[in-house]
């Protein structure tokens, strides 16, 4: 395994008390493996990725274990951490405008990454920057290098960020919703690019997305998050075909798809999102669950393993 995350917890200290954003997450990514991370909006996907790269706000307390090639990331000194980020682990953030520097041209931002992580000279870096823009489908790269983030379209910013992350040829890419602003044809081009890097260079990939179609087409394994925990994990095909957590099942049913009649109301999961400032005693999904039993209210189901499937749901057999 290149990345092992064990019992990761993140608590935000807020004026109104603690918020348990990530509450005991376990993940593993082997070299060249692709893990999909899906789940409810606000369930802790981005905070998990940021915790792995130690990029959280000062009001966050992180505990648990993050091992990168057997090295303890949570104990790394700052200079080792700087080399880790970028050179070994690339990160594509969810909101490009918040991650890109608004006063530097895109060209300079790619160049910074190339300068820090490669041996290329000025000319070589420019050629590589153009190549990277071409790889992510940005035409007329020469002129584009001189533009600022606000002069790019939403999807072009997202692709510029992917180019910056890939500039150092990382061994692992943490990609947070990297194709939301892309049309399906460019999305396809980007996903093929990532899969090629995985096949050719053995790059590992953690792909956060809300697009279950993207997960089906790109990932080998998927982990589903709800209220700061992984509620189910396993191979994509079997999880989608026969979910073993009630939340996964409800999520799959809320998809607008070939089934739902156009113009008809979609079927969201009923009820309120869970409160992270007041964790439930039992299963966090219980108040919204249609198949819950009495144990669900009082005792948190623990993670069970059955072959290559993992799930934490008492109702698993009845789904």
């Amino acid at each position: 395994m290149s990345l092992v995350v064990r019992d990761l917890r993140v608590v935000f200290d807020t004026p109104k008390g603690p918020v348990w954003a990530v509450d005991g997450v376990d993940l593993e990514v082997a070299p060249g493996a692709v893990l999909g991370l899906v789940g409810e909006s606000g369930s802790g996907k981005s905070v998990t990725l940021r915790a792995i790269a130690r990029l959280l706000h000062a009001n966050a307390t992180v505990s648990g274990e993050v091992l990168w090639e057997d090295e303890d990331v949570l104990a790394m000194p700052p200079d080792r951490l700087r080399r880790l980020r970028g050179a070994e682990i690339g990160i594509v953030f969810q909101e490009p405008m918040a991650a890109l520097n608004p006063v530097l041209t895109i060209g300079l931002q790619i160049d910074e990454s190339l300068e820090a992580h490669t041996e290329l000279d000025t000319k070589g870096r420019r050629a590589r920057a153009l190549e990277l823009l071409d790889l992510v489908g940005i035409a007329a790269g020469g002129a584009r290098l001189g533009q600022y983030p606000h002069e790019f379209s939403g999807g072009m910013r997202q692709r510029a960020m992917i180019a910056i992350a890939l500039a150092s040829s990382p061994k692992l890419l943490l990609a947070d919703d990297p194709t939301t602003a892309l049309d399906v044809t460019i999305q396809d081009q980007i996903l093929r690019l990532l899969l090629r890097l995985k096949a050719e260079l053995g790059m590992g990939l953690v792909l956060v997305t809300h697009d279950l179609g993207v997960v089906a087409q790109t990932c080998e394994r998927v982990a589903v998050m709800y209220a700061g925990r992984v509620c189910e994990a396993g191979p994509v095909a079997s999880v989608f075909a026969s979910p073993r957590h009630a939340y996964t099942q409800a999520l799959l049913r809320a998809m607008p798809g070939e089934g739902a009649r156009a113009g008809a109301k979609l079927v969201p999961i009923p009820g309120q999102a869970p409160r992270l400032d007041r964790p439930a005693q039992g299963c966090a999904f219980q108040p919204r669950c249609t198949v819950s039993e009495s144990a669900c209210e009082t005792r948190r189901p623990s993670m069970e393993t059955d072959g290559d499937r993992r799930f934490a749901c008492y109702a698993e057999a009845r789904l």
């Binding site: 909006s41 049309d183 999305q187 999102a273």
Partner: protein, 319 residues
């Protein structure tokens, strides 16, 4: 049938940066042709889906529609009046009636204002409800977008990407608009929350005749909720029509490529190849039909004559 908002042959260019080589070789100033003669119309109670390649001009069109930027040529009409000529009270009425949900929520929220204070300010400045009712209305707005009451006291940075996106929607809805221009409003939401927001839009539409311009890359969603669709490519509308017709019998080869590239939910199912060929640059749009360099059914005349939009499609092959 009453058209509320309309774009008539809107053009918009942005100057492209000039490199040293451009200056030395005295190349002419280049421009990004973001919009080249775009016309759309939207009726009360209707949803127009706008789809197209990343960078094709969708957000620029949206910004023209809400008067954040002015077209270089052409006009945007609100209830039959050119919005560039609106004065005093008409202008205020327009500013309230036409609201935008921005593609990049992070950049559009004030980081120094709590979410509750920001919403309250909108309600107060535009006199939407009596001062005494503002706190209750703020909570109702948050509830509509599935955020808890406790969200009012937090700053934008303390939310997840999808939660911020919903704050942007709440702010637009606070104005009780007649038209919403929603630029990728649900791209960061899981399918269940997405379903709730889409249902909310459809409810407001039924109840209040809200007109919606829905810009998205999610073709499943467009198919589900749009009455009509406009497909854009490189600054132009290349096909437009009723949603059902566009999906059942797409006539433009770009529309066909787009529809066939939607990732399937069944893992491993082979994808149709994405559009091939060199990516076009809006700085040097190809002569003739903008899609011809990548078109699978290109004919000799496509390289020299630009087809115009006739009967909802702009393609020489669509006889």
């Amino acid at each position: 049938m009453s058209i509320v908002l309309q774009a008539n042959a809107v053009e918009r260019r942005f100057p492209a940066p000039r490199g040293l080589a451009d200056l030395l070789l005295r190349r002419p100033i280049r421009a990004v042709h973001a919009l080249s003669g775009v016309s759309i119309a939207i009726e009360a109670g209707e949803t127009l889906g706008v789809v197209g390649e990343s960078g094709c001009g969708k957000s620029t069109l949206a910004r023209c529609l809400v008067r954040l930027i002015a077209p270089d040529a052409g006009a945007v009409m609100f209830e039959g009046q050119d919005i560039a000529t609106l004065r005093s009270s008409d202008r205020l009425r327009f500013n309230r009636a036409v609201q935008m949900v921005f593609q990049d929520p992070f950049a559009s929220l004030n980081p120094r204002m709590t979410v509750g204070a920001a919403l309250a300010e909108v309600l107060r400045v535009h006199n939407i409800v009596p001062d005494a009712d503002i706190p209750a209305r703020v909570l109702a707005l948050l509830d509509q977008v599935q955020l808890p009451a406790s969200a009012a006291g937090r700053y934008p940075h303390a939310f997840s990407g999808g939660q911020r996106q919903r704050i942007g929607i709440a702010r637009a809805l606070a104005m009780e608009p007649r038209v919403i221009i929603a630029d990728e409003p649900v791209s960061a939401l899981d399918v269940s929350v997405q379903a709730q927001i889409v249902n909310l839009f459809m409810e407001l539409q039924e109840r209040l005749g809200l007109a919606i311009v829905f810009i998205t890359h999610d073709l499943r969603l467009v198919r589900h909720m749009a009455h009509r669709v406009a497909v854009m490519y490189l600054g132009r509308v290349v096909e437009t029509g009723l949603t059902h017709d566009i999906f059942e019998a797409p006539r433009h080869p770009y529309t066909r490529a787009l529809i066939s590239a939607v990732p399937s939910l069944i893992p491993g199912q082979a994808r149709a190849d994405a559009v091939r060929g060199e990516l076009p640059s809006p700085m040097a749009p190809p002569p003739g039909c903008p899609f011809h360099p990548r078109c699978p059914i290109v004919m000799p005349r496509c390289a020299s004559d630009a087809p115009s939009l006739i009967n909802g499609v702009s393609c020489w092959a669509a006889g």
